[in-house]
């Protein structure tokens, strides 16, 4: 890769969201901002290899995109005189100080993750507007046809415009709820990468997990005082650290207790642990940790054990007890039961799991957990049946392979 290509790749990662966000504020239109930014990058692809990479690529892209946006407005103005006034107003805008531009990206994130948009539209819009992914890339990542993904993004932008979803920070009262809405979008992107669904598909999409981490890093940098954002970043890093150890060469899922811990990524673990320690210090100072911080702390306990036998299960269970208070969902109760099995034995855990049947009957992990807890001589047929249900429900190829092997290993 030559210098110009390298610079363009880096600019996509570092400058795309900044340029789109700045233009959205200036022109008041996501559509125009997106198109003008894409045009500016296309111009860079032609010009940088010929003219050399500009000393400040971000500034070059912003200036170029602004010009493209104004050109576009001028062309439209010839058809619509009313827009001319709007153009004059924005043309006279003084250059904004850097601080405001930083806020712009946050504004853009809150707009793209607005609760009035459907979750799938939020994800698509966030990857396009903040992540800078192209439409074909997003469509591929979510296994939908390109025109379906295009329609989602078009519909989301049309709703933002028609319903006037504002381009600004949520009020202080709304902020916690709105931040957790943003984090849900980022976590969904990460999980789709980490546990890709669909039979004809590879088990992991490293590009999506990397995008989710990159976006979460950005939100974390923009909202350094928010403990849940840091918690989610730590959770992603600690989960990602185990990625390569999680899938065998045959494409089969390797559970935590069988993973080669030497293959875990020490740099990601170190960064994740540092973030968790900061959150623990904040909790000790009286801050109440939310679900992502607790999940990150659980991941930190696991990644601290050099061997599965060194796992501090009572610590894991204590954290799950805390998590149940914050998030009383049946899935959390199911995961807690796995820790209960390690601390109090499989019988106690099985009793807890069986109580979750009505809510979790359609969830493969419920049956897989039950199957695990049932592996005793007198209950082998039950275990086999439970593995069977789990296999039918699991959508991820590596999980299906792993569950099938486990079932076939039963005596």
């Amino acid at each position: 890769m030559n210098d110009a290509e390298d610079a363009i790749t880096r600019a996509y990662r570092d400058e795309w969201a900044r340029v789109v966000a700045g233009l959205t504020r200036r022109f008041g239109s996501l559509d125009l901002a997106e198109e003008a930014t894409a045009e500016a990058f296309a111009t860079a692809v032609v010009r940088w290899p010929a003219d050399g990479v500009p000393p400040n690529p971000g500034a070059w892209l912003t200036t170029t995109a602004n010009r493209k946006g104004i050109d576009r407005l001028r062309r439209e103005n010839q058809r619509d005189a009313k827009h001319k006034e709007a153009l004059m107003v924005s043309d006279n805008d003084p250059t904004e100080p850097i601080g405001v531009i930083e806020d712009d990206r946050l504004r853009l994130i809150f707009t793209c993750c607005h609760p009035a948009l459907s979750m799938e539209n939020r994800v698509a819009l966030t990857l396009r507007m903040i992540g800078g992914l192209t439409m074909p890339e997003i469509a591929r990542a979510f296994l939908v046809p390109e025109n379906t993904m295009g329609r989602r993004i078009t519909r989301a932008k049309a709703k933002i415009k028609a319903a006037r979803i504002p381009y600004r920070m949520p009020s202080a009262a709304d902020l916690p709820g709105r931040v957790s809405g943003v984090l849900a979008v980022l976590f969904l992107i990460f999980n789709e990468g980490y546990l890709t669904t669909g039979p004809g598909n590879g088990p992991v999409r490293a590009d999506l997990t990397a995008d989710a981490i990159r976006l979460t890093r950005l939100v974390c940098a923009l909202m350094p005082e928010d403990g849940e954002v840091a918690g989610l970043l730590a959770l992603m890093l600690l989960t990602e650290s185990r990625r390569t150890a999680r899938i065998s060469v045959n494409g089969e899922l390797i559970p935590l207790d069988e993973q080669d811990r030497g293959a875990w990524d020490p740099a990601l673990i170190a960064e994740g642990h540092r973030l968790v320690r900061e959150r623990l210090a904040a909790a000790a100072a009286g801050e109440v940790p939310g679900r992502y911080q607790i999940l990150a702390a659980i991941a930190a306990v696991h990644t601290s054990a050099r061997d599965i036998r060194d796992t501090d299960w009572s610590q894991v269970l204590a954290l799950y007890d805390q998590l149940v208070n914050v998030d009383p969902s049946p899935i959390v109760a199911l995961n807690r039961a796995i820790a209960v099995a390690e601390v109090d034995g499989p019988e106690t855990a099985l009793a807890i799991v069986d109580r979750l049947e009505t809510e979790l009957n359609g969830y493969h992990a419920f049956h897989a957990t039950r199957a695990d807890l049932l592996r005793r001589p007198d209950r082998n047929p039950d275990a086999r049946a439970a593995f069977g249900k789990a296999i039918d429900l699991a959508g991820n190829t590596a999980e299906t392979a792993h569950l099938t092997r486990r079932r076939d290993q039963l005596p």
Binding site: A163, R164, I165, P166, P170, S171, D174
Partner: protein
């Protein structure tokens, strides 16, 4: 009652730099689990506040959907039929029209209004 806008509102709409938006707020009730029927005084008090704070354009409660009549005069002959155009468990029980700066402002009001009238609301912008 007809849906007309207070002329004063049009004035404020054209004057301000920050144009106001109008939202139709539909009150949705459910045949099988209707909202409480004692909400009228609370709704009146809420409407007074909407007026005082400058959000109010229109409010009205509707009669039962059975009282509706559908007329179609697009063809050669007009056709009149009894009942609502759409039979459903959920139905439009009333409506508001609000003027608000953006969707966040409208949704904040709607969150309050839903409690006040004990019913689900749909917030939809005018084009």
């Amino acid at each position: 009652m007809t849906l007309t806008r207070d002329p004063e509102w049009s004035v404020t709409q054209t004057e301000g730099e920050d144009l106001q938006m109008q939202y139709l707020v539909s009150v949705i009730d459910d045949m099988s689990t209707p909202g409480r029927s004692d909400r009228r005084p609370a709704i009146s008090a809420f409407n007074e506040r909407l007026i005082a704070d400058g959000y109010w354009v229109f409010a009205g409660g509707l009669a039962n959907p059975d009282a509706a009549t559908v007329i179609d005069n697009r063809g050669e002959q007009q056709v009149i039929s009894d009942g609502p155009f759409l039979e459903s468990k959920e139905y439009l029980a009333g409506l508001w029209v609000w003027e608000a700066p953006d969707l966040d402002a409208a949704l904040a009001l709607a969150a309050e209004a839903s409690k006040v009238c004990d019913r689900k609301l749909e917030v939809r912008p005018f084009a």
